[in-house]
Structure formats: structure tokens, C-alpha cells
């Protein structure tokens, strides 16, 4: 080994010369969650600045009310360290596109292969009506959550919170579109399939009005964190999983439909990730060394409000379980499972499910 030549450097490559910080090859302005920063942290942390980190001159444009681009009071929740949150799914652009692209490829393959084999023509007739009316209505629920989260990703105090909300929105909007195009495609193979029936059901059917009200309540919240909380902590386990896993994925196959469960399955995996992100963020807030009690009280209020709405939504959907010819699952059983599920989720946060 010869000594490294320090002058003159004839190369712009790392190691071509030794001088102060010539080996400083890590971002050194933030504390990683673990010993070493993850790739997600490197490309995410502190990209959205604030007066604490590190706006020397404060926000330099304000809204007419004097507030800057991002303020902590966009939610009623309080935190002694909004910057501590790291999304457990570690999503950044590359992983997001890889995952979304794989899902789209899988969904399209399943639909194309199913159609090639003539599967839609073999669907049970009662099941076809269910897809047309109820899956057709459900796509609007997913879309509503997607647009609500798209709105919410503008407000969080840190890049980590907003990016996790953004990817959640992206997953929801993808699913809404997947269902839309799936129904349009099988509709071409099924004589008399009414592609517009789903929206009519969403807007007019009595059974869907509870779900629509629950979704519109989330969309109408002016508290971004309530939107994120209500979506993943309450609506998804009590209505989302109930309908997707508890009905579509289990009832499809016995009624001759192996395509719908595959199209929907991706959403359940999406939710696991979004739930993990949400629980981690909310857990930080309910264990905050200064504001835990305030946040717990606030969240319990959100639970009470949205559980009531979600309960009404689930009850409204109950008759759908009796519509297929083949009924492998009972509403009461899957409802009990979803109640157990939300109890576990709330238990993680020290919150309780209100009595019906």
C-alpha cells in the first residue's frame, strides 16, 4: 500500500485525497431510528423543513391568517416530537412503484387469463348481480378514502407523516381504479352487465348509505390526522376488511369466481402496511411524554364517532351476505372477527371499543 496522494487530486472519486471530512459519507443532520439510517430515512427525513428543523428565517410566505406552509395545529393532536415518526413500510419512490407495478401486473394477468378461459360467463348469476351492484358501489368507497388521504397528505408537520399518507392515498386510488376497470372488462363478457349500477347503488341504495355517510364523514374532516386515523384504525377493520376479506374474497370462489378474490387480495396487503404505519404514528402520540393523555382522549373521541358511523355502515351491508347462492360465510361470524380485529388494534393504542 502506498500513501494516498492528497494534492493535486487528479480524480473526482471518493478516496482520491484525504482532508477533513473526505470520509463523511452519511447524512449527518438527523438521528436515524436505528444504528444506521435506512435508505428510506436518507431520502425522506427533513425534506419538508419547519422552523424547528431548520428554517433559520421561519416560513417566508404565509397564508392571510399569518400561518406558514405547515403548522402543528392542522390537527388537534399534540406531539412533543412530530419528527420522530418513521413509517414501518419504509416506502420511497422506488419501492412504491415496484410494489404498485407488480400489483397492476398481477391484477391484469389474472383478469386477462380469467377472461381467456371464459370464467366470467361461468360466474353464478346472483354473484354477477353482486359484483355489478355491490363491488360496483364499493369502488366509490375506496375512491373516497383515496381522495380524502390525498387531501390529508398536504397537512402533516413532517415529510415522514405526509409521505406515508400519500402512499396510502395512492394505494386506495389504485384499488378504486382496478375495480372500475375490472368490472368494465368482465362486463364485456357478461351479457346484460350494467356498468352504471354500482354508482346508482352507492348514491341511492339504502344499504349503502351508511357506508357513504361514513366515507363522507372522513372526507369532510378538516383534521388530517383524524382522516388518517379514521381510515385505518376504524373504517378499514370494521367495514373495509369486513367487505373485502369477509365477503368478496371468501364468497367469490364458491360462486364460480376466482378473479375477484385475486383483484381484491392486493388491497388487504396494502392495508397491512398502511395499518402498521398508522399504528406506529398513533402509538407515538398516545405515549408522548407530554401529551399522551390529551391524545388518548382525542383519539377515543374519534373512535367513538367513527365506530358509530362504521357500525351503521356494516349493518347496512349485512343483507349482501344473504344474496349469493353459495353462502360459505355468515355475516355474524365475519362481523365478530372484525370486532375482534379492531379491539386488538385499539388495544395497541390503549383505546377501547365503545359499546353498541
Amino acid at each position: 500500500m502506498t500513501a494516498v496522494q492528497s494534492v493535486p487530486a487528479k480524480s473526482g472519486a471518493a478516496g482520491a485525497a484525504v482532508f477533513p471530512d473526505s470520509d463523511s459519507r452519511k447524512y449527518r443532520y438527523f438521528e436515524p431510528r436505528s444504528k444506521r439510517a435506512t435508505h428510506y430515512e436518507d431520502v425522506t427525513v427533513d425534506v419538508q423543513p419547519d422552523p424547528e428543523r431548520y428554517l433559520l428565517q421561519d416560513w417566508i410566505i404565509s397564508f392571510p391568517n399569518g400561518k406558514g406552509a405547515y403548522t402543528k395545529d392542522n390537527t388537534a393532536a399534540l406531539s412533543s416530537s412530530w419528527h420522530a415518526f418513521r413509517a414501518p413500510d419504509q416506502e420511497w419512490e422506488r419501492t412504491h412503484y415496484q410494489r404498485q407495478s407488480k400489483i397492476e401486473t398481477m391484477v391484469q394477468s389474472v383478469i386477462a387469463n380469467g377472461r381467456k378461459s371464459g370464467a366470467p360467463k361461468g360466474f353464478d348469476k346472483a354473484w354477477v348481480k353482486i359484483l355489478q351492484n355491490h363491488l360496483g358501489a364499493w369502488k366509490h368507497a375506496e375512491f373516497g378514502l383515496g381522495t380524502s388521504l390525498m387531501q390529508a397528505q398536504r397537512y402533516g408537520y413532517t415529510q415522514m407523516i405526509n409521505n406515508a399518507t400519500l402512499t396510502n392515498s395512492s394505494y386506495k386510488l389504485r384499488l378504486a381504479q382496478d375495480i372500475t376497470l375490472y368490472l368494465a372488462e368482465i362486463g364485456m363478457d357478461i351479457p346484460g352487465f350494467d356498468d352504471a349500477a354500482g354508482k346508482r347503488a352507492w348514491l341511492e341504495d339504502k344499504g349503502w348509505q351508511g357506508t357513504r355517510e361514513a366515507i363522507e364523514s372522513i372526507m369532510g374532516s378538516a383534521d388530517y390526522l383524524e382522516q388518517y386515523f379514521a381510515t385505518n384504525i376504524v373504517f378499514e377493520p370494521l367495514v373495509g376488511e369486513l367487505f373485502r376479506s369477509g365477503f368478496l374474497m371468501q364468497v367469490g370462489s364458491p360462486n364460480g369466481d376466482f378473479i375477484t378474490p385475486a383483484v381484491i387480495s392486493a388491497a388487504e396487503a396494502d392495508y397491512e402496511r398502511n395499518l402498521a404505519n398508522t399504528i406506529d404514528l398513533m402509538h407515538l402520540l398516545v405515549t408522548d411524554n407530554q401529551h399522551a393523555a390529551h391524545n388518548k382522549k382525542l383519539f377515543q373521541g374519534w373512535v367513538n364517532k367513527h365506530v358509530a358511523l362504521a357500525g351503521k355502515a356494516a349493518t347496512g351491508l349485512q343483507p349482501i351476505w344473504s344474496q349469493p347462492h353459495s353462502k360459505p360465510v355468515q355475516y355474524a361470524d365475519v362481523r365478530a372477527q372484525s370486532v375482534e380485529r379492531i379491539k386488538k388494534i385499539l388495544g395497541e393504542l390503549g383505546l377501547v371499543l365503545p359499546k353498541e
Partner: protein, 556 residues
């Protein structure tokens, strides 16, 4: 061949058309009847006509397309390392990337956030799909750029500056200009910021210089990574331009929007010119070592992309819809870039302040002088001696150029509107907001801060319009502070606790590197606070002197 049986024909199945797919997806939305969506980002515009989505793309095709683009980008970065790119890269260029890449991820992610603002304002759901994809695109741009910066940090000879990047962004006298740009996308009237300033002007006009001209110059300096990433970024922009134009067309339908559109087009064009041309012009003209006289200068590229393409084919046609276009502003910007040497004065300002930044700035040399004079006649007479001084004073033991009275440079006032200093001295104006005195680089900057960003415009209430706020003049933060203490407070010191991150040269040798002790003993002053402290008579005299400009002393 028509009778031939092929596998495609055997397996083909009827699909839905792109138009049908877009139509069905646009029908996912509805008008809520139980709870109304909260209108949290107000605008003074009226939007009654639902905009159309010109691209008609759906997420099913979008995600695989983007993944494929990503694969090419990351493959190219790997190939660049295998090809030993950094052995041949020009450090002069990569150093400026410390500034550029500190700034750009924030405006990008701000653009993602701003889609929430326009998404809710547009009636109908047609364009919401377009906004959704733009939101995810901008998330892509922000994190792919952070990744590129990390890659430079890991592989370039001097990682200092990259390693403090986002912290530096919040603090530096130069990045404050970039913050004005990024905050402009997300604050104030939702249409002014997220549609006109961001999409209709920044993305449609100025991304050409940002994301096309800069990559070309990068490649000339042995940097193949930046073109790979940024041309991929630019390939998303056509969709964003479509979104902006569609929204603009909807707004044009309402005559009562026309006055606001005239205001916002004027503000957005002028401020994009002032900010983007300052930064990108400097990177391209002063960050390069390539002095090929046959290549276009920044001014020539500006004429092609901004003047010919944008002004003539995008802005001018708006007149037929009844929007007053301020032709003089475009001409004035062009004159600032050519006759008034705007970019060169910005580069000079950045160089004067080198010790308080976080990248290295190398002196321009004889080879550079010849090119500048060829492209910008009269350049040498104004700037030649300055750069000779800069080289001379780049050695430790010399007095920091910022405080060296031998040079003849007069530190500029900061423009309260664009935050670039008032470098074209004869154009500097002052104005008052709420009884306080401010300085502006140009009358249009004064108009922007005083008249446009206000609660009323030409007699019309504009309650949604934003305000300029915060400690906008960077210098006032360190008024009467020793430069060494300011640098330490900024965090622009290497981990040995004494060597500056910034250096006025590219000599990668500890003996040559300036430390806090080399700059200590000089006090920073805020030009604005100093001006306010003057008596009215002294102030007028000072302003008259300032507008006369200065002469750099000969450097022998």
C-alpha cells in the same frame, strides 16, 4: 398477410378503449350529501367548468411505466459507477450540485402537496386522476433526487456539504431563494400557488432550463448521473403541463377571473425568471468547465425555450381569451439576461459570499473569460478583474473577499420579493408595507410584494392571497455578528470543528483549506436594517450611490 393466423389473434380479447377507461374512472367521484368536503385551501378564483384530463392515463398503465423508467435510472447509476464516472467528473460541476440538490427536493415534494389544493377545487373528477398521478410523480422526483444526492455523497471526492444538505437548505443565504420558490407552490391562494405559479409557469416554462439544459451541461462535465435522473423527471412534466393547462382553460371561462389571472401570470413569470434564471443560469454558466463556443449559452437557451416556445406559443395565445399579457416583462427579463448580465451578477454575489455557504466555488480562469466574452460581449470589462481577485484571494491568509476593501465590490441589498439581491443596481427600488421600508430588485418585485400579495388587488378584495413573511432578509439574522460565529451557528463547519465546509477553490488539501480562524474578525451587517437606521437624507444619498453601481479595482 391478413389471412395469417398468429398467436396474438388467437389470444386477443376485447378490451376497453383508453377513452372509455378514463371516462369510467372520472365517474368514481360524486357530490357528497351527508358531509361536505372541507374547503380548507381557499381561492379568490371562481371555477365552474369542470376541467378535462387531456392525458387520459390510468394508474394501471402509469405504475408499470414509472417502474420501467426507474429501472433505467437506477441501472444507469450502477453503470456510471462501474464505468468509474467520478474519476473523470469535473469537481467544479459537482460542487454546484451541493446547492442545486439541497434546494430541489423541497419544491418537488411541495408540488405533491399542492395537488391536494387543486384537486379539491376542480369541479368534476376528470382531472383528479391527472392530479393523483402528478402527486405520486412529485413524490418520485423528491425521493429520486434525494437518492442522487446520497449517491454523490458516497462517491464524490469531497462529500462535505452533501452530508448536511437538508439542514443547509434551511439556513443558507443562497437556498433562501429556493425556499421562496418551493413555498410559493403551497402557500396563499390555492390557484395562484398550485396552478399558476407551479404548473402554468414553473413547470410549463422553466423546467426546460432546469431539467433539460442542466443535464446537457452535466454530461459535458463528465456527470452522466444527473442527466439520467433529471431527464427521467422531465418525462413526467408533460402530464403536469397538461394538468395546468386544463385547469387554466376552465378558469378562463369566467371573465371575473381574468384580472387575477393577469396578476398571477405576471407575478409567476417574473418571479420564476428572477429565481430560476439566477440559480440555473449560474450552475450552467459557472459550474461548467466546457467552453465550447459552438454550444448555446444560457441566454441563448432561454431565448429558445422561454421566449420562443413559452412566450410565443403559450402566453401570447392567452390574449385571445381576454387575458392581458405583459409583453414588456418578457422583454425586460431578456434584457436583464443579456444587456444587464443578471446571471453573472448572481454568480458574482454567490462567490463573494462563499465562506457562508456549503459548497466550493472555484475561480473562473482565462479559458472561461474568453468564452464569456464571446457569448456575452462586454463581460470581461465588468467581471474579469473580479474573478482575478477571487483567485488571488482564494488562498489562506488573504482577507476574505466579502470584507476585502481592495476589491471594490459593494455588498448588495436583498430583494424582499424574489430574495435574490438587488444586483442590477440601477433598477433597485424601495417600497413600504405596513409603514416599513423594504428594498426590491426591480419595480416588478415591488409590485409583487406590495400590490399583488395583499388583501386587495385593484379595488377587488383578494382575501385568499398570501403574504410575504418571516425574516426574509437573510442578512438581518446575523446583523452585527462576526462571520466566524455566523458560520458556526449555521453548521457550515466540518466535523473537525474548525475547517469550513465551503472553500473558494478546488484544492483538496488540508493545508489549503480555510478554517474559522481564517475568517474571524469581520462583522456581518444587514443592508436593510442599516438602511432603515439612516436619516432620510442619508438614505437618499445612499440609494443614489447604490444605483450608480461600483467598479471592481484592477487586480494585478
Amino acid at each position: 398477410m391478413s389471412g395469417t393466423l398468429t398467436l396474438n389473434k388467437i389470444t386477443a380479447q376485447r378490451g376497453i378503449s383508453v377513452g372509455d377507461a378514463a371516462k369510467k374512472i372520472a365517474d368514481l367521484g360524486w357530490n357528497p350529501s351527508y358531509v361536505q368536503e372541507a374547503m380548507t385551501f381557499p381561492t379568490d378564483y371562481k371555477i365552474a367548468k369542470a376541467p378535462k384530463d387531456p392525458m387520459k392515463q390510468v394508474l394501471r398503465s402509469y405504475f408499470p411505466m414509472q417502474e420501467e423508467k426507474d429501472n433505467r435510472v437506477y441501472g444507469a447509476l450502477d453503470a456510471a459507477l462501474r464505468g468509474d464516472m467520478f474519476r473523470n467528473v469535473e469537481p467544479r460541476w459537482v460542487e454546484w450540485m451541493k446547492l442545486f440538490l439541497a434546494i430541489i427536493p423541497f419544491p418537488e415534494i411541495s408540488a405533491a402537496r399542492s395537488m391536494a389544493m387543486v384537486g379539491r377545487l376542480a369541479p368534476g373528477e376528470d382531472l383528479r386522476t391527472g392530479f393523483t398521478m402528478q402527486m405520486v410523480d412529485e413524490f418520485r422526483h423528491s425521493t429520486i433526487q434525494m437518492n442522487l444526492k446520497k449517491w454523490y455523497m458516497e462517491n464524490y471526492i469531497d462529500p462535505a456539504g452533501f452530508d448536511i444538505t437538508e439542514e443547509a437548505f434551511g439556513k443558507c443565504y443562497a437556498t433562501t431563494i429556493g425556499r421562496q420558490f418551493g413555498e410559493g407552490f403551497i402557500t396563499g391562494d390555492a390557484i395562484t400557488s398550485a396552478n399558476v405559479y407551479l404548473t402554468v409557469v414553473a413547470e410549463t416554462a422553466f423546467t426546460n432550463t432546469l431539467f433539460v439544459a442542466m443535464p446537457s451541461e452535466a454530461a459535458r462535465n463528465g456527470d452522466y448521473a444527473l442527466p439520467t435522473v433529471f431527464l427521467s423527471v422531465q418525462s413526467d412534466e408533460s402530464r403536469h403541463i397538461g394538468n395546468g393547462h386544463s385547469m387554466l382553460m376552465s378558469m378562463l371561462k369566467e371573465p371575473e377571473n381574468h384580472l387575477l389571472l393577469e396578476r398571477d401570470m405576471r407575478y409567476a413569470f417574473w418571479q420564476n425568471h428572477a429565481i430560476v434564471d439566477a440559480a440555473i443560469g449560474t450552475f450552467i454558466e459557472y459550474g461548467t468547465t466546457n467552453r465550447d463556443k459552438t454550444k448555446e449559452s444560457y441566454a441563448e437557451m432561454w431565448h429558445r425555450w422561454i421566449f420562443e416556445d413559452y412566450y410565443r406559443t403559450y402566453m401570447l395565445p392567452l390574449e385571445k381569451y381576454g387575458i392581458k399579457i405583459h409583453h414588456d416583462d418578457v422583454q425586460t427579463a431578456w434584457k436583464r439576461l443579456t444587456e444587464k448580465h443578471y446571471v453573472h451578477k448572481v454568480a458574482q454575489f454567490f462567490a463573494v459570499g462563499w465562506s457562508a455557504n456549503f459548497w466550493r466555488i472555484e475561480a473562473q480562469t482565462d479559458k472561461d473569460f474568453e468564452w464569456f466574452e464571446h457569448k456575452y460581449p462586454g463581460w470581461y470589462a465588468q467581471f474579469g478583474d473580479f474573478w482575478k481577485w477571487y483567485e488571488k484571494l482564494s488562498h489562506r491568509g488573504q482577507t476574505n473577499i466579502l470584507f476585502n476593501s481592495d476589491v471594490g465590490y459593494v455588498y448588495p441589498h436583498r430583494c424582499w420579493s424574489c430574495l435574490v439581491p438587488c444586483l442590477i443596481r440601477e433598477d433597485m427600488v424601495t417600497g413600504e408595507i405596513d409603514g416599513k421600508l423594504y428594498t426590491f430588485a426591480h419595480e416588478l418585485d415591488r409590485w409583487t410584494a406590495v400590490e399583488a400579495f395583499a388583501g386587495e388587488y385593484q379595488g377587488r378584495p383578494t382575501p385568499a392571497m398570501g403574504r410575504f413573511s418571516g425574516r426574509r432578509e437573510w442578512e438581518s439574522v446575523y446583523h452585527n455578528v462576526d462571520i466566524a460565529d455566523a458560520i458556526k451557528d449555521l453548521g457550515f463547519v466540518r466535523t473537525d470543528g474548525k475547517t469550513l465546509v465551503a472553500q473558494p477553490h478546488l484544492r483538496f488539501d488540508e493545508k489549503e483549506m480555510w478554517t474559522l480562524d481564517d475568517v474571524r474578525g469581520h462583522i456581518l451587517k444587514s443592508p436593510l436594517l442599516t438602511l432603515r437606521e439612516m436619516s432620510p437624507a442619508d438614505r437618499e444619498k445612499h440609494l443614489a450611490e447604490y444605483r450608480k453601481g461600483f467598479t471592481i479595482n484592477p487586480c494585478n
